[in-house]
């Protein structure tokens, strides 16, 4: 069994550590500090923690003000309330003004589970990605969450980081380095590429194992930096592997799949297949049941890779793709 770790738990821990070194960090929450784990920071630095109550727009506006006053605000709540409820204040007061606000939201995706569609955020990546000046990061495990936080605290500008309710398998050790705008080839391969983010990186690795049994070795890229996206790594993958499957715990509209398709369609045409929530809202259920229901299992990714390989065959015949 691979070790699992809570990435929101990691957020709380790391934030509390960073709070020692960075005296300008202030943390805001909207009545969910136990769930987002900002409570860990709140306990240690009560004077630098502000619970704004159930009022996400006010929280974001206040965070923007803190940034203007030279502080480094981290604002947290559930992903849908952070990015959805407070979207226009984020647009105007954070992104348009280009101020140094970090939004770190928990409960991204459908693995929120039993709370149901009202609480499952399948739109946050799209909502944040569309904003100029916004950096969008979806860490794949707790180690990466820590590295991301250590990076963005020194970056001056708006950042959105998505975390999740469920624990993620630990994929990286301490030697891993995160860079804004860079993807990570987490497994080498030449037969198609799987580009994933967040929890779906683990699912992609499991899909890679399944495909391995068929003698197929896909390249697997962790695209935690969704914006700016790593164009070079995508073009290289397209050229060298000839087909791409994207996998995200988000709507197939506007998220990682869209971002990848945008790059591929402009830079290097290869077949792309998007694994994600197929333009519908979430429902109540257990995280694992929901992953199955919404087609986000390793088997679903495996099938998509086979499909892409099939399509690639045609494109090779048609366009002599790959003949040197």
């Amino acid at each position: 069994m691979t070790e699992k770790k809570s990435i929101r738990g990691q957020y709380g821990e790391t934030l509390a550590l960073l709070g020692e070194k960075y005296k300008d960090i202030v943390v805001l929450d909207a009545d969910l500090s136990g769930s987002t784990k900002t409570k860990v920071f709140a306990k240690k630095f009560p004077d630098r923690f502000f619970n704004i109550g159930v009022s996400e727009q006010d929280m974001i506006g206040t965070a923007a003000g803190f940034a203007v006053a030279g502080k480094i605000p981290f604002a947290s709540t559930f992903a849908i309330f952070a990015t959805g409820r407070a979207w226009e204040p984020i647009r105007q007061s954070v992104a348009y003004s280009k101020v140094n606000v970090k939004i770190v939201a928990s409960h991204g995706g459908i693995t929120v589970g039993e709370d149901g569609g009202s609480h499952q955020s399948i739109e946050d990546i799209a909502l944040m990605r569309v904003l100029p000046n916004m950096t969008v990061i979806v860490p794949a495990d707790a180690t990466e969450m820590r590295k991301v936080l250590e990076t963005v605290v020194d970056y001056n500008g708006p950042v959105y980081v998505r975390s999740s309710r469920i624990d993620f398998p630990v994929l990286y050790d301490n030697t891993y380095t995160f860079t804004i705008g860079k993807g990570d080839v987490i497994r080498e391969g030449t037969d198609a590429t799987i580009v994933a983010c967040g929890f779906m990186v683990s699912q992609a690795l499991a899909a890679g194992d399944l495909l391995g049994k068929r003698g197929i070795r896909p390249r697997i890229i962790n695209m935690s930096s969704i914006k700016p996206i790593d164009t070079a790594i995508l073009v290289k993958a397209a050229q060298e592997t000839g087909g791409i499957v994207t996998a995200e715990e988000h709507s197939i509209i506007g998220g990682l799949g869209s971002a990848v398709a945008e790059v591929v369609s402009e830079e290097c045409h290869v077949p792309v297949k998007r694994i994600g929530v197929q333009d519908c809202f979430g429902i109540s259920g257990k995280p694992n049941e929901l992953l199955e229901y919404f087609g986000l299992t390793p088997e679903d990714i495996e099938r998509a890779v086979l499909e892409v390989l099939e399509k690639r065959k045609y494109s090779i015949q048609e366009k002599d793709f790959g003949r040197r």
Binding site: D29, D31, L32, S33, G34, S35, K39, N51, I52, G53, V54, S55, Q57, D58, I80, F81, G84, R85, G113, E114, D115, G116, G117, S118, H119, I283, S284, G285, K286, E289, L290, Y293
Partner: protein
């Protein structure tokens, strides 16, 4: 359904007791969900549905019905227990709360549950919706009334106060808001997290008629509903002082049980306190 006042005062305590039992069994089955805020509002919502609302469980879309919006959508178990006892949904559905492809979603979903007017769960939106319903009914020359249940943490949302202005500005007097003043939200006591006092004065200043009651005394609840109907040219809010987790000592006034379902032991103790024999 509509009981006379006398009959209601006799029967409501027992009805509310049964509903609390249903809520706890349902939450225990599902293993997750919101205990505290369902129990604090049980007496209010039971009284509303059994004595005040004009509705037809066998025809949930009946045009003449009074409307109800559960703005604090996390009290879904309460809503479902009431809808089940009234016959909107089958009793056997209750044990499927929050399960895959069930009718009873974690938060009320009008697409899947008969009797639910609109989906809620994201706090702060219900009063605006209720305004729209009430204004629509007024345009339709309907005498149906609209009720909306708000949480006290919920009123920290700015949208509630935007809506509060709208209700008063348009003199929406076919609207009655009920505020479940249980004093707690998720992170702690409302007054410690983000003070909302002086609450009655705020609503008054926003142009509302305010009625303060004990939200567990049925006489006061029924009187308040009656009084609200008599108010002309103004919206009415009933600020009901309640106890979060009401009815079960281990849940009462405990922040922890905002979003925690009872485990086996807790259910057993709870049912014992509520005088229920065995599962």
């Amino acid at each position: 359904m509509q009981w006379s006042r006398e009959e209601a005062l006799k029967r409501l305590p027992e009805e509310a007791r049964q509903i609390r039992i249903e809520i706890l069994k349902m939450l225990h089955q599902s293993g997750s969900g919101h205990t505290g805020g369902s129990l604090s509002a049980t007496d209010l919502v039971t009284a509303l549905f059994f004595t005040e609302l004009r509705h037809k469980p066998e025809d949930s879309n009946w045009e003449g019905r009074d409307r109800f919006v559960l703005s604090k959508g996390h009290a879904a178990p309460l809503y479902y227990a009431v809808l089940s006892r009234l016959g909107y949904i089958k009793a056997e559905e209750l044990c499927r709360l929050r399960k895959m492809c069930c009718m009873l979603q974690g938060h009320p979903d009008s697409k899947s549950t008969p009797g639910v007017e609109i989906s809620t769960g994201s706090l702060g939106q219900g009063l605006s919706i209720a305004n729209g319903i009430a204004l629509g009914l007024r345009l339709n020359k309907s005498d149906a009334r609209t009720y909306v249940l708000l949480g006290d943490g919920e009123v920290q949302e700015g949208m509630v106060w935007e809506a509060a202005m709208t209700s008063a500005h348009y003199k929406i007097d076919n609207l009655c808001a009920i505020l479940d003043r249980n004093g707690l939200q998720i992170d702690g006591a409302v007054e410690e997290i983000m003070s909302i006092e002086p609450l009655a004065d705020k609503w008054k200043a926003f142009g509302w008629h305010v009625i303060n009651i004990d939200g567990h005394r049925f006489e006061e609840i029924l009187d308040a509903f009656e009084a609200a109907k008599e108010v002309n040219g103004k919206p009415t809010i009933i600020i009901a002082k309640t106890v979060k987790g009401k009815g079960v000592s281990i849940f009462e006034n405990k922040v922890k049980y905002h979003g925690a379902a009872p485990n086996d032991e807790e259910l057993e103790q709870a049912l014992k306190e509520l005088g229920h024999k065995k599962l």
